[in-house]
């Protein structure tokens, strides 16, 4: 009797639940709603603190900057500033603001707000402040004119203003200040910008909901944008197939072909400036790496084609470095190390370090790193170099990179602003050893002189020539192993139109111009 009762209850339960299931399929495919699946939650949304690409997806369309990247180019165009002047010595920048740009609460964006935003970032003193420490003084000339004095000439400065940390924040954020945090707590989960969108709701762990900023100068087509957090790839993929999401981030290269073939799904493919490379710890690693021949040998031992075709599934091309294709300063005729086992063996033998053992550091931060590490390990085994894999947590990896506790280490790099400075000076200046950028712990006086000079003069042709000279030395010395330059590939619904990919804005959407 009781047993029957159980089944009756069970039956009722199933029926009740069955009744609700039919109702979950309601109002999908709304034209005014865009759903983007992102693979991880963003950290703080404060543009004066965040160094995290994931957060920039939300902050970029919710704030405006003095200048903006021009379409899909790496150069800048006017944004909040309608025009600007640079003094002859390259140290003074004067910006003339557009009138009528308003924050989401209706306050106008003026010179005071600009001054406030940069001073706030500097006062907070976190990640973005390092970049702007070049600023000596900011002066409000009149409500629509603001003047920046730099400590020394720095031509990439204008480009840094278009990056996420150049965002102008509503000074009213100070009303939300707690314990002298300059509003960091509030801005970590709220936005106060003048961009076309504003963060209306942040449901922790689930989604970010953006709605149109009522006072925005531009009127976007899409009213509501959801960034849905989906940590599981399979689930994201099924959602895309079912049309529950419009754009699916975080799909591994291996699955892109398959996903691209789904009904109503297209793959957006564009050349990016994201490069995969391997640091060879010259300064602090094992002795073998101090030998030029040894490093050249290693560079010849890697089967680049197999990595590009198998690991990256063809969504990448050979990286001709150190400045990637698509950014000025790139030299297509740079020396490239081809896969050549015999030559590699010869060079390693000549170096006298055959049979050396190397530690290869990586983490699970990028899903393909493990495959890359395994491939490098088996490639180097062919030339008689034994590689031990060290997989650590991502924060640990950063620490080890900073203090130089590795021999080889896989890495990715993409520029924050459109200037070869992001590669040449970060990667090779001996002042930047460690996390700051020179992760091969490389030191060469001649290179230092060339790139430091290139960073202070404003004539682009002259700078390009200096960088070119430095590149010749660097590539001959085989400082890094240049693996590949990735292709930006993103599966999205065919209904989504107007997306423009800018290589400076990796993973950031031009929401205001998109339609569905």
């Amino acid at each position: 009797m009781k047993k029957h009762l159980f089944f009756v209850v069970l039956g009722i339960l199933i029926l009740v639940l069955g009744a609700c299931s039919s109702e979950t399929q309601n109002d999908q495919g709304d034209k005014n709603r865009l759903v983007i699946a992102i693979s991880a939650e963003a950290g703080t949304l404060d543009p004066g603190v965040s160094m995290d690409n994931q957060a920039w997806k939300i902050t970029y369309p919710t704030y405006e900057r003095l200048v903006a990247y021009d379409g899909d180019k790496t150069t800048v165009k006017p944004a909040l500033a309608k025009d600007w002047e640079i003094s002859d010595d390259g140290k003074t920048y004067t910006f003339f603001l557009n009138e009528g740009h308003k924050f989401a609460d209706g306050t106008e964006v003026d010179a005071e707000a600009v001054k406030f935003s940069f001073e706030r970032t500097l006062k907070i003193g976190k990640g973005p402040s390092g970049l702007y420490s070049i600023i000596d003084n900011i002066e409000v000339v009149d409500p629509y004119t603001v003047k920046f004095e730099l400590k020394n000439a720095f031509p990439p400065f204008i480009s840094t203003l278009a990056a996420n940390y150049g965002a102008i924040v509503n000074p009213k954020v100070m009303e939300h200040e707690k314990d002298g945090d300059l509003g960091q707590g509030y801005l970590s989960a709220n936005t106060m910008g003048s961009g076309p969108y504003q963060l209306e709701e942040y449901n922790k762990g689930q989604y970010y909901k953006l709605t149109v900023n009522p006072h925005s100068a531009v009127k976007p087509n899409i009213d509501t944008v959801y960034f849905r957090i989906s940590s599981d790839v399979s689930e994201t993929r099924i959602s895309l197939e079912k049309g529950e999401i419009d754009i699916a981030e975080g799909i591994p290269a291996d699955q892109l072909d398959e996903v691209g073939q789904m009904d109503g799904v297209k793959l957006v493919q564009k050349p990016s400036l994201l490069v995969d490379y391997v640091y060879m710890n010259i300064g602090k690693g094992t002795d073998a790496l101090k030998s030029k021949e040894f490093r050249q040998g290693i560079s010849h031992a890697i089967d680049y084609d197999s990595i590009i075709n198998e690991t990256m599934q063809g969504f990448a091309s050979r990286f001709v470095g150190p400045v990637p294709e698509g950014l000025w300063g790139h030299n297509p005729d740079s020396k490239v190390y081809e896969y050549d086992v015999d030559k590699a063996k010869e060079l390693i033998q000549a170096s006298g370090f055959e049979g050396a053992e190397l530690d290869l550091l990586y983490s699970d931060n990028k899903p393909y790193w493990e495959e890359l590490a395994l491939t490098i390990q088996s490639n180097l085994e062919q030339v008689g170099v034994k590689v031990n894999l060290t997989k650590v947590a991502y924060p640990t990896m950063r620490e080890k990179i900073d203090i130089g506790e590795f021999d080889l280490c896989v890495g990715v790099w993409s520029p924050d602003y459109g200037d070869p400075y992001m590669f040449m000076n970060y990667w090779f200046d001996s002042d930047n050893w460690g996390l700051a950028g020179n992760r091969s712990f490389y030191a060469n006086d001649e290179v230092d002189q060339l790139i430091r000079k290139a960073a202070t003069i404003s004539d682009q042709a002259e700078r390009e020539e200096l960088y070119k000279q430095a590149q010749e030395i660097i590539n001959e010395e085989a400082v890094y192993i240049y693996i590949d330059q990735q292709q930006f590939t993103l599966p999205m619904s065919e209904d989504v139109k107007g997306f423009v990919y800018n290589p400076m804005l990796e993973g950031i959407y031009n929401l205001a111009e998109m339609t569905k």
Partner: protein, 296 residues
């Protein structure tokens, strides 16, 4: 496994042992679940021991030209993202998973029962102190403690094992102590005390052997959990490190490929399931066998 059962009740007299043995063996055979568990376990042990003879492949050899081959006569369970044979990795993985599981639980069992026996025998203040420590450790959720420990010490197999040992110890301390509290009052212990034998001798010779029987049941049950915990840590990237063919780590990398390369996470998943199941079935059976309450 059955030999263990037979040799177990050492403290009984010989005549009792014989008849009891017969009854136990009879009841052991009677429960089909225990037999199934034993069968699967024996299969895994054989596979693990003879792994190199059963497969022509190397579990760590990278072969990019055979990447993601579906199951075929050459690769029964297919290949993974760098062309390694999945069956081979599962076979070698059996050595790892079983080896780790047994090592971890036996170490935890040993340490735990010794501490428990000491705490139980020495009694009052010291025992109380130990138990409070154990209460604190028990208040940590096992997976979280293991995660925090591996995060702290760095992800590696040894650290994951250490974490599980620490997580498991309190259970044995509790078990051994409560048994020891009973044994302490028994005549032969009292007798030993009157002879003036040292405490160390009494604990080693009398207390520990007499608390061992419930410990063994607990060990069998925990083996299943330990294997699953190791796999879960591997899955979260905190356990065994590549290129080790650990089952959990295999699923961790493989599960993203489930939709296109279903074989990659599925077969290691089945292996974990079967191994854990075998220990759980066996543990369940043993518990029935040795639990006086269910003897009827």
């Amino acid at each position: 496994m059955n030999t263990q059962t037979e040799t177990q009740p050492q403290t009984l007299t010989t005549t009792q042992t014989l008849s009891k043995q017969k009854i136990l063996w009879y009841r052991f055979k009677q429960n089909p679940l225990t037999l199934v568990g034993t069968g699967i376990l024996l299969m895994f042990i054989v596979l693990a021991i003879f792994a190199p003879l059963l497969t022509p492949y190397d579990p760590e050899m990278v072969n990019m030209s055979e990447r993601f081959e579906p199951p075929s006569s050459a690769h029964w369970f297919g290949t993974d993202e760098v062309g390694r044979d999945i069956l081979t990795r599962i076979l070698y993985g059996a050595r790892l998973s079983l080896g780790i599981g047994i090592t971890v639980v036996v170490i935890a069992g040993l340490i735990g029962s010794v501490i428990g026996a000491i705490a139980g025998y020495l009694g009052k203040a010291f025992g109380q102190f130990i138990m409070r420590m154990m209460d604190i450790m028990l208040a940590f959720p096992p997976l979280v403690l293991a995660m925090a420990l591996t995060a702290a010490l760095g992800p590696s197999l040894i650290n994951a094992m250490l974490a599980i040992v620490i997580v498991k110890i309190p259970v044995y301390v509790r078990l051994a102590r409560s048994e020891a509290l009973v044994v302490r009052e028994q005549l032969f212990v009292k007798a030993a005390e009157t002879f003036g034998l040292s405490k160390v001798w009494i604990i080693a010779r009398h207390i520990v052997p007499n608390v061992i029987s419930p410990i063994i049941v607990q060990v069998t049950i925990d083996l299943g959990e330990a294997i699953l915990l190791i796999a879960t840590l591997g899955f979260l990237g905190l356990g065994a490190q590549p290129p080790m063919p650990e089952w959990g780590a295999m699923i961790s990398t493989g599960w993203e490929f489930f939709l296109d390369q279903w074989w990659y996470p599925t077969f290691p998943g089945i292996a974990i399931f079967l191994a854990t199941l075998s220990f759980n079935l066996l543990g369940d059976g043993l518990r029935d066998l040795l639990d006086p309450k269910s003897t009827r």
